[in-house]
């Protein structure tokens, strides 16, 4: 059941993490998996989908002594999606909390 929760909000977590700064794939997966244990590989199909939907753009940046890194960046559409999904999550989690506390607030 745990995995189903995670899958539903992984997109929200990705968008929220990229809201503060552009990150490359490895960084993004590390950062998220520090807080929530996830199968890190699934970030990549998600990122591709978000890019194709116009919520993200990518750019390459050379790194010193390493491979060029593909950075992911939120677009205006992505920021709007983040705002919307954040709101949905907050409403939803409040509702679940209400039920967990026996209907009393």
């Amino acid at each position: 059941m745990d995995t189903q929760f995670k899958k539903g909000i992984l997109e929200l977590c990705v968008l929220a993490t990229l809201a503060t700064e552009d990150l490359y794939g490895y960084e993004l997966t590390s950062r998220i998996s520090r807080t929530i244990a996830i199968t890190e590989g699934t970030i990549y199909p998600l990122l591709r989908r978000l890019k194709e939907e116009g919520l993200l753009v990518t750019y390459l940046e050379e790194s010193s002594g390493g491979p060029p890194r593909k950075y992911y960046q939120l677009t205006a559409k992505g920021k709007r999606a983040l705002k919307e999904q954040r709101g949905e999550w907050e409403t939803f989690s409040k509702q679940v909390d209400t039920i967990l506390h026996g209907g009393k607030r």
């Binding site: 899958k7 199968t39 590989g41 989908r49 390493g66």
Partner: protein, 196 residues
């Protein structure tokens, strides 16, 4: 597993995608491995974190197929997108295939009805034209031959309209199916990644 095996299995799942797309997908994982290596991590640890390459390949394929179906609503593209989404897991079989099969059944029924009605209409037209030469048909219907002819034309028109309507419905269904698949992939993608 090591990086080579991981990428091989991933590539295998990606068969059917154009080489450019496959290369782009693999490049992301190559980058991940390269950075991990720079941090002195072992390939085995990295592949364990990434998860099943087969499952990841299926997710990538589903995402791409839906993309294709959106660009061009051809029957082939929509069918492939449905299959790729179902390939993500058994759960999808019911959730995706069920409604899709129902839609296809409705379309086929309407199409068959359209053909049947058109055929009946055409038969009536021929019947009415042949009637003067075949006395028995005049007796069978209460109408005169002209009435029968118009009935035939009207019926054929109805049948043809049904066929045209079914074609438009088919386009609409394709759009709905694609949107529904996208919705499913958003919710379900990665579920197998956790379980496998």
């Amino acid at each position: 597993m090591n990086k080579k095996t991981f990428l091989e299995q991933l590539r295998k799942e990606l068969k059917g995608l154009p080489e450019e797309e496959t290369r782009d997908i693999i490049a992301d994982y190559e980058e991940h491995f390269a950075i991990g290596k720079k941090k002195r991590r072992k390939e085995e640890a990295i592949t364990k974190e990434l998860g099943s390459p087969k499952s990841l390949g299926k997710q990538h394929k589903a995402v791409w197929r839906i993309e294709q179906a959106e660009k061009k609503h051809s029957t082939e593209n929509v069918l492939k997108a449905v299959l790729a989404t179902i390939g993500l897991g058994f759960f999808n079989l019911v959730v995706v295939l069920g409604p899709f099969a129902a839609l296809v059944a409705v379309l086929l029924a309407l199409f068959a009805a359209g053909i049947g009605i058109s055929a009946a209409g055409i038969a009536l037209i021929f019947g009415s034209l042949a009637a003067p030469f075949l006395h028995q048909y005049l007796i069978l219907s209460g109408q005169g031959t002209i009435g029968l002819l118009f009935l035939g034309i009207g019926t054929t028109a109805l049948g043809l309209l049904m066929l045209i309507g079914t074609a438009y419905l088919g386009k609409g269904f394709a759009k709905i199916t694609i949107a529904y698949l996208r919705f499913n992939v958003q919710i379900i993608t990665g579920k197998r990644g956790e379980e496998e």
